[in-house]
Symmetry: C2
Subunit: 470 residues, 2 copies
Amino acid sequence: MTSDQNSNLSLFFEPRSIAVFGSMREPLGEAITAMRNMRDFGFQGRLYPISRSSAEVLGTRTYPTVDAVNEPIDLALVITPPPTVLPIIEQCGRKRIRAVIIATEGFAETGPDGAGLQRQLVETAHGFGMRLLGPNTLGVLNTAHGLVTDPYPIGKNKPRAGGVSYCAQTGFLTFGVHPIKDLGQPISKICDFGNKCDVNEVDILPYLADDPSTDVICMHLEDIRDGQRFGQVAKEVVARKPVLVLKPGRTEAGAKAASSHTGSLAGDDVIYENALKQAGVIRLRTWREYWDIPKALSLQPLAKGNRVAIITATGGAGVMLTDAAAEAGLIPATFTPATRTHLHTLSPRWGSNPVDVGPQMSLRDNPFAVYSEVVPVVLSDPNVDCLAVVCHFGSPIVKVLTELAPTIAKISKPVTVFGYGIDLADMQESGRNIEALGLPVYLDLETAVKALGVGAAYSQIRARLGVDGR
Amino acid sequence: MTSDQNSNLSLFFEPRSIAVFGSMREPLGEAITAMRNMRDFGFQGRLYPISRSSAEVLGTRTYPTVDAVNEPIDLALVITPPPTVLPIIEQCGRKRIRAVIIATEGFAETGPDGAGLQRQLVETAHGFGMRLLGPNTLGVLNTAHGLVTDPYPIGKNKPRAGGVSYCAQTGFLTFGVHPIKDLGQPISKICDFGNKCDVNEVDILPYLADDPSTDVICMHLEDIRDGQRFGQVAKEVVARKPVLVLKPGRTEAGAKAASSHTGSLAGDDVIYENALKQAGVIRLRTWREYWDIPKALSLQPLAKGNRVAIITATGGAGVMLTDAAAEAGLIPATFTPATRTHLHTLSPRWGSNPVDVGPQMSLRDNPFAVYSEVVPVVLSDPNVDCLAVVCHFGSPIVKVLTELAPTIAKISKPVTVFGYGIDLADMQESGRNIEALGLPVYLDLETAVKALGVGAAYSQIRARLGVDGR
């Protein structure tokens, strides 16, 4: 990756100006929808809608061709029928546009004819020194710039700004079809590779490694085009930031489905497994892990080791979390004698791990205050590297955790919170409030400790690479 | 299990009258809270609050002692301090009450003294021919009778009546701390074993097997008190209804935590694994599987085999589901030539499995109508045993599935639905509406096919036992 290429990549994520090609027809024309999404997200750059049919779109002046625009243009977004795309690429090339997102469907994913047309796009683009993202993509999102190129209406789904950047080989794992706003996901950038005709995982890794607003990189890859190069690049990036990968095709049936989805050779999973491990990339297994684990690494500090403590208001959950923690590579922390003594003075039944605060809660006037007593004691224990807290979600625990959050942050060890309750809306509201404190929230039991396990695994990888803690 | 014991069990779940012992203090006295929960759930039987301090509780006359009640009493609910429980058991015994739920905490779970007190309770109860549930339990729930004994306020959490019965060795996996109403869980009965001093898994299995409103039995067991007897009983029950078990202690750390939680010997997991398999019991692994898989077996017919079809609006999800299906013991269905031809006439890109309807949707005026075309063709294919449908949740798909539901029911093969979207509240609302059609809904990708896999596994178990389809 030369710095020139890297600056090309920044045109995709931080464009100051965008030419938009496609249907401006109300209400759901793809181009006008993308423009409306950007307006809703608060895009600060200039938009140049290219249209001969109307003088103005959403209050913005249109241009009959891109040549008619007198200012320089950083990025083009193309959502026009397949046969029109190549001529548009040529126009953009002449206008010295260096980055083009082709949202249009109907290329390599449809068969040999589409693949041929797609190859032409790439050859033409490279002749102009232009990079292409897609085709068959929802494009990109950048919370810091209010940028989003989705041709479907998603204006209400602007996530909060945060440190996780996602790249996926399907719109399904991007901003298009996940309630990233309602779930409070802390997002920096999202990219849908689409058919990955040009810009791919090897290009984007160094860009995200250099990006100051990205803490954690999470990718969905159905194939890896150049395994050796990916391994080299990933290894360098992993020394700086965690790289998590969801790679389907674990099973023979899945690999076959992947190959018919993106027309790519999914390859032998064992080879991928070893190559990813070799590069220090951590592999995720499920849809839920993909969405819910990266945020823990972004919001919380890194663990120094893999010894986990569990504080729970229900003994049954403590047992299940202990199982899940062991399966995630963690071991139960053995508290120091000082911690055991301290806990014992707070309640004669406390001292071992997990700490079941439930029985004490039913004796107190202010049941949730027990968390204020126990969390600092346990988290400060030198034998504890990370902590999972289990609690009933509702306003009382939000209040307690709001008071505790500065203490937790000061101790500087990773904490996750698993919440339960009987009122779903109330639980989700509490979850958002707690996560806004910087504490990653889980409404799924096993994922709460799996996230700690992935954090501990990344610490071990850094140690192996001889890199100090973040 | 004699029929006499079985009728004792029915006193716990179908009591016509209940004596309630415990604090009647407003607002949160445990006994008055339990009574209020029952009023909110619509309990039809008679309640006899036992209290000397007030003449009336929630409009119901109180009695100073249980002897003062002149009518027969089926069940006693005891939520009083530990030292008072034994004398109450004796009073209940003299009143010929044959079933007592001891909600009170502070027995075997607190150590040797508590364990001794607990043994006394059992000996006394058995002397009267009385069965005990608990102590340290939230008790029971029965949707058909409006029965719920929880001493914490959960009046708003009454689930809809359905065919799944749950029993757990922790309140955490019962009605107390899960939004079973908001999630639309179809519930028949729920039981919290608590410390399991008397009534246990071996007692309850035959009762639920005989219960006409229970289709599926799902249990959380931290230990199994009499493995051999459990195996015999479970095997008989499995021939009639599926029995699913979440058994923590899979890891050494988890087993140790279980033993300190319930004071029981968790034992070697391999032995449990084999014993459960031998009995035809299907083992669940996670919190989410426990809550989300049984409903699919209750709402849908049994599959005749393990060949799964996938219809998806996003190719990326199709690949991930194929992986998850293979890991759940399913194999991708190969459509018959007739089906392939039929699909091909609907769209030239259709014919193989998974069927990606996404590209067709973007060409249609009514995108969601493609499901009406494709679902019946695929589900009717003789090579297809079960089907997972992936769709964007919102009112359009609810409308289509409402129209399709009778056709799906007629074809009589199991279907699950995985839904995605960008508006969480909207997705949950759509999910409830679709599940009300009898189609089990998942907002978690892998669980949607794992549920089909568990159904197929139960079919295979029935075949092995020589039992016909349900």
